[in-house]
Symmetry: C2
Subunit: 216 residues, 2 copies
DNA sequence: TCAAAAGTGTTCTTGATACACCCATGC
DNA sequence: GCATGGGTGTATCAAGAACACTTTTGA
């Protein structure tokens, strides 16, 4: 099992990598991963690995694809079920960054060369993320609990690698009625403070059962 | 590996099932499947199984999901990579139906009880099919090479389980410029003969590379 | 001449896009 | 008072949805 862990911080999409201590690919960066035990499900294995590497519980986790090329591991035949995870990195930055000494967050735009077929796994995870973020609420899994509409816009711009119109995006996301304005504002820098919102997950689930279809 | 094989015939979406000859679930119907060999990829295993059961080459095949519940096979721990396939059933009806004595096509609306967790695998395959058919050209994989617009409409109606407006659907699919009208017409029953079309796969690939986005 | 499916246009409504200025704050 | 990002509305255009009658054939 391998796990593509995405975070969003400082306006950039980031990826968690582990520096390999053993051959093959010793010293190269790789996706966190490990072997599935006989008495645990695939999901449980992915979540166990995730907790081990990041210390984070309650993160979004979804199966991505299963990679079964015969020569993908030079040692022996290994089939790998890949997952991808979305973590609220800016809420847990300090913790997540330091838990594993050999783990590090890289901007997706500036990655080192990866071990095994992990570049291909990442490519697929990015494609999935870009596809799903437009019609599911998974974007909010990457934002802190309380966020501003500018943060939301920057997230979409980073993931989709495009520029978006501020007014049109705000109009659309607010029209869903899923963002709850909070009492607080966020004050950073010498300019007007920004309204904070939270995403109403419960209401989203209700609407989705009634056939509601979210789209950015 | 398990394989969800869909066909479309007589206006209905159909599923290929195998009657199990051995325990567990002896006598119950199951998805075609088998074990992946050490020196073949997952895709190769799925295609090998598909050729064995249907005798069909060149069918659409895509990985669906990997099922890893601990108790999904009562004998021992088995992880299964599920695929789904789309076959042009009406082109090959006679051949496909008789190749394997214990194989049979069932309307998706009238299925027997399935072995193992195959009902869940099917549920997921149906969801995938319903999702993808709207924005990819996979629908044509279920139609014969030459088809009428009514057949196309009935296919979408069967897969999506809705009714569609004849005029709006024709307007939209023809607007893509991907359906080539043929010289021939199809004459069935005592009414006006229907224009036959073929899907221009090459042109579709070209457009897709340029960012073209198909949607029903 | 009748039954049965094939084929064809227009109107209305909705949502997408494009676009420019004022506001609140810290320095 | 000025630099910085936060916040807001309207006009235009394109696509989706709703809708009914004529055409061609075989029996």
């Amino acid at each position: 099992m391998d796990c593509v862990v995405f975070g969003f911080d400082e306006g950039e999409l980031k990826l968690l990598l582990i520096e390999r201590g053993l051959e093959p690919f010793k010293g190269r960066w790789a996706l966190p991963g490990g072997f599935v035990r006989v008495n645990e499900t695939l999901d449980e294995a992915a979540r166990r690995e995730l907790v081990g590497e990041t210390g984070l519980k309650n993160v979004f986790l979804e199966q991505l694809y299963t990679f079964g090329e015969v020569e993908r591991d030079p040692r022996e035949r290994v089939v790998s079920v890949a997952y991808y995870a979305l973590v609220k990195l800016s809420d847990h930055r300090a913790k997540a960054a330091t838990d594993a000494a050999n783990a590090q967050w890289f901007p997706v735009s500036k990655l080192p060369k990866l071990a095994f077929d992990h570049a291909e796994i990442l490519r697929m995870a990015l494609a999935r993320l870009q596809g799903k973020v437009r019609y599911q609420s998974i974007g909010f899994e990457l934002l802190p609990e309380k966020f501003t509409l500018s943060q939301l816009q920057h997230l979409y711009e980073a993931v989709l690698e495009t520029e978006l119109d501020k007014r049109n995006l705000r109009k659309k996301v607010l029209s869903f009625g899923l963002l709850v304005p909070l009492e607080e504002t966020q004050m950073v820098g010498r300019h007007r403070p920004a309204q904070l919102f939270r995403f109403d997950q419960k209401r989203y689930e209700q609407l989705r059962k009634k056939g509601f279809h979210f789209e950015i």
